[in-house]
Symmetry: D2
Subunit: 138 residues, 4 copies
């Protein structure tokens, strides 16, 4: 299994727009922190839905990399998200991802996203990553 | 019903990060174009999933505004997306949204996203916007 | 492409609990009718959610069979459904399914479910069927 | 909070087709067992997708009743399910449901479904129940 440092370095290389900070990772779960910026805000003093979706998607990608190795071409095939509460505008988002299937071709997981300072999750997501046949981990 | 020009102006004001261009809108559907930039690309020469999700979400927002009036605080409550094919890296994305329910509280619709030059859709999404009680259209 | 009669016969054989009646089918879409019975009703004089889900799932299966041939072992890998309005208790449900991707391994489509006598759809679904490698059409 | 016995009796009354057996329930989670029968099987010696969906939906309903009281008219507004592995044909299904939001109007939760004798979950679902305004618990 690649280490947190190896996954962070890999992510910075293949996906430089990524802004999530990996805080913890093991072979079936991970935790990502995201520093909300001005560009992420929406009318009503909250964080935009797409920001939260992007973080959930990135958490699934990190957990996939930890589970199957550093395969750059893993792609999202589906994502479902329920927005539960308004995140606080000035606070970090933190995503907790847990894998429920690690197959040869598909990896499936769910994610709870928290807004720092609010106890209950602000969003719940689940999604699927597909591993292209013949992928070799970097 | 607000006009295309009014919705575009409203969007630019309340949601300045928005990059979708409204090409057509009526009271149950709309079409949005998105000029893919460098920051939207992913390893493998394709457009990132979050870019596609953000466009689907924005298309649902535009269709909601057309259907219920210019309510700034409408928020996504759920979004589901299936990625079907790789979009072409250098091409615009175009989202076609159709509403299937316009209720007092909830608006539900689906979206097909196309990558210019590819006939079949690259993504299919469905989602729900919630209209806060007591909202008055701007 | 198998005919409507061939698909109906196949369905009756491999999936005898099926109660949907195929009314129309072509290589990218189909229409199924379901006669709602006592066991399908829910408190409040409406049709149960699982009945509507089962019909949406069966419509996706029929469209898959029409698109890829009579493969018995195609299985649902994901289904998403939004319930939009209460179906009428004593009326048939009618599902309209449209495929948006027919791949070698995955078939993806969406479904609108109507309750006879109500113009707007009562449910909207999308889902994915997976074709096992090496499947041969019956 | 209603007891397990009270919820079971209520379910038998308002939803007699229900076949899930409540094994545990508290105010944010529940566990349901379902005895798979002949009518639930699918080609290939497995349990049908609709059976698994119906169980996930019922688990969300039971958890909703435990959280908000015995409101008969709570209805599913959305359900998303990923099928992860083939359940064993002759084994019970067991659903573990956890609520992630209990609002005045909406209750949201997720469900993992297990097939007895298989350690990993066979399905993962999330869904939303809506509580009609003015509902009074029975």
């Amino acid at each position: 299994m690649p280490t947190l440092t190896e996954i962070s370095a890999f992510l910075a290389e293949v996906f430089p727009q990524s802004r999530g900070i990996i805080e913890a990772v093991d072979e079936r779960s991970c935790r990502l922190r995201y520093r909300v910026g001005e560009a992420d805000l929406r009318p009503g003093g909250t964080v935009s839905g797409p920001t939260t979706m992007a973080l959930a998607d990135e958490a699934l990608y990190v957990a996939t990399l930890a589970a199957v190795g550093l395969v750059p071409l893993a792609v999202t095939t589906s994502l479902n998200i329920n927005f539960l509460r308004k995140p606080a505008a000035g606070q970090d988002l933190v995503a907790h991802c847990r894998l429920v299937k690690v197959g040869r071709v598909l990896v499936v997981g769910d994610v709870l996203v928290y807004s720092e300072g609010i106890e209950a999750p602000v969003a719940q997501a689940s999604g699927t990553y597909s591993i292209p046949p013949g992928s070799t981990a970097a």
